[in-house]
Symmetry: C2
Subunit: 360 residues, 2 copies
């Protein structure tokens, strides 16, 4: 049945109510009206969501598969997420767990540009290293000074903290110019990733500034920018590495492996940053493993997307993280390196050398 795709929801319900509840979600996520009132057989056959399977997961939780109309997605990022979870995001008892997309859908979306392999370059056999430039509040020269210290620690990447935007105390253009220069001078092998923010036009102008400063990667928070705009930037910039940040991604009860792994990748992310287990955030090892798998496993010919576990990581955890994720990954340590202040470069070197030494 190629005119449908399968979506999996987790629904809290009494066993006696689950069939009716599943059916109501199938209607909510498709025609959103009483099906008795639909007079066209064609719509009943091809457009109304169909409950395909209900599995009792125990403790009042049910896994429900609903087959939705492929044509209704319009093969566009915003309408796809709308079909997956638009209105149902408002239900307290429903979470979006997973989705399977047929080739016809996969072929309509861009997927990553340079992707994981492009980001790895000649470093295919070891994990990549990254850190985050902070804190917000510093002027461009203050950030540039920190960027230089981090770059001297031989990182592969330094990304902006997602809190760096286009603030009066550090306007994007001045900040990116200062930091790009500082990183280049401290270590030409380190790539600086500025965070682009604002509406689509503003992000475009920021990408131009990044390129004018010799940069070939930027970070975007797709749930703030809007998923359709991630797709647009990907199509317009096939050569640019797009790092996806999870800001605001947690507010809608979408399973992280689906949203941060599959969907961000499908719409064009080359790397996906996510909170590693055991850090400040509550993702489980299982969730993190699934997310990394979703980002980089074979998927209908799409380039792999680089998993970037982060969020309260330390150099002490490098071996454990690489045991867990393997080396097709970027490890990102922010605060723990910045906390070293005067010995920031040495601490960064300790991190990067530990990553380089892993498995040798």
């Amino acid at each position: 049945m190629t005119d449908r795709f399968a979506v999996t929801y987790h629904i809290r319900s009494d066993a006696s109510q689950i069939e009716a509840r599943a059916q109501s979600i199938a209607v909510e996520q498709s025609v959103e009206m009483p099906i008795d009132a639909i007079e066209h057989q064609d719509i009943l056959d091809h457009t109304v969501g169909k409950v395909a399977d209900i599995t009792d997961l125990g403790d009042g939780l049910f896994q429900v598969r609903i087959d939705l109309s492929l044509a209704s997605t319009g093969l566009e990022a915003g309408q796809l997420i709308n079909m997956l979870f638009g209105n149902s995001s408002i239900y307290d008892d429903v979470a979006l767990a997973d989705a399977d997309f047929p080739d016809a859908l996969m072929a309509a979306f861009p997927g990553p540009g340079p992707g994981m392999v492009g980001l790895q370059g000649n470093n295919l056999r070891r994990a990549l290293t990254g850190s985050a430039l902070k804190p917000q509040g510093l002027p461009p020269q203050g950030l540039a000074k920190i960027a230089a210290k981090l770059a001297a620690g031989e990182l592969d990447f330094i990304k902006d903290d997602h809190g760096l935007a286009d603030q009066a105390y550090a306007p994007f253009a001045a900040r990116v110019k200062a930091c790009a220069k500082a990183v280049r001078e401290a270590n030409p092998a380190t790539r600086y990733i500025p965070s682009v923010t604002g509406n689509l036009d503003v992000m475009r102008s920021q990408i131009k500034i990044a390129r004018d400063n010799g940069l070939d990667a930027v970070m975007i928070a797709p749930m703030i920018a809007g998923l359709p705009n991630l797709e647009a930037l990907r199509r317009e910039n096939p050569d640019l590495a797009l790092f996806a940040h999870p800001a605001l991604a947690g507010s809608a009860r979408i399973a992280p492996p689906l949203l941060l792994g599959k969907l961000f990748r499908l719409f064009g992310a080359d790397a996906t940053i996510f909170p590693n287990h055991g850090g400040r955030f509550g993702y489980s090892p299982h969730t993190c493993g699934q997310l990394a798998d979703a980002a980089r496993q074979d998927w209908s010919g799409l380039a792999p997307c680089l998993p970037v576990p982060a969020g309260g990581m330390t150099t002490e955890r490098v071996d454990e993280m690489l045991d867990f994720y393997g080396t097709q990954v970027m490890l990102l340590i922010g605060g723990a390196l910045l906390a070293a202040k005067d010995t920031m470069t040495q601490e960064t070197l300790a991190f990067t050398r530990k990553v380089h030494a892993y498995g040798r």
Copy 2:
């Protein structure tokens, strides 16, 4: 302290841990790094989030007020929501409850264009009436036929179902042309509101098509489109009525009165559609009342935004809803009117007449 604004979170915690947890959220939502590592007194004074108040709400829930840096918002919609809830959206134990904005922030955002009063026109003393055009799957002429039947019922507004996008079976341009014509011919006083979707450029081109068809209102789902793009469309179209749809807005994590009431209004929505209590969705009367208040109450000189309770409403509930919301509101009944099929126009007339008769 005009360089700060107050944000209220609801945090689940043990009483013994709440001070530390509140402090960690204050850091997460600002500098996102160990504050011991911050060497600039200026950043400690003006940028790091400050816990201002902790109130025990009982049952392990605490209300925490955190004062954040105004300058860090960059006075831009995306960065504002990022400061409010970017990373903390990922915490299971934190919800965004409310925010208070100083005049300096309010003055930087557009707020509604025509707003509630512009939408009311000469109907200031009664509630407005609306319905939704469905189902997705119909071709343009099928939708136009339904639109004509609804318009003949003397509705003030007919909005697209949020599931109508730019699908192959009903491309936006053909659909809007057919429906605008059908509505105009059936009742020139009824205003048709097409749903615009996709990236910012696509939405712009759809707005142009809407205008070319004589329309002066469109619907947008800000959480799918990205909040910065709502702000952009508002600034570019001061005369266009923007209806905000709650798709992907989620239920539990950002308080609906803040997101759908305050923030959508601040960024430019003229009307905000939300699930009424007692319908298909779980909003309480208290939440709905707060949301309507947030949308239309005096707020720093911003035009009021029209509350549009919807989601499984019926004509039987008109009096009760108007008792609850007053008449400065639009009542929106979709499925219940569509379900009438052959008597759709009569049922719609019964709805609109009941609204017109209220309070006479």
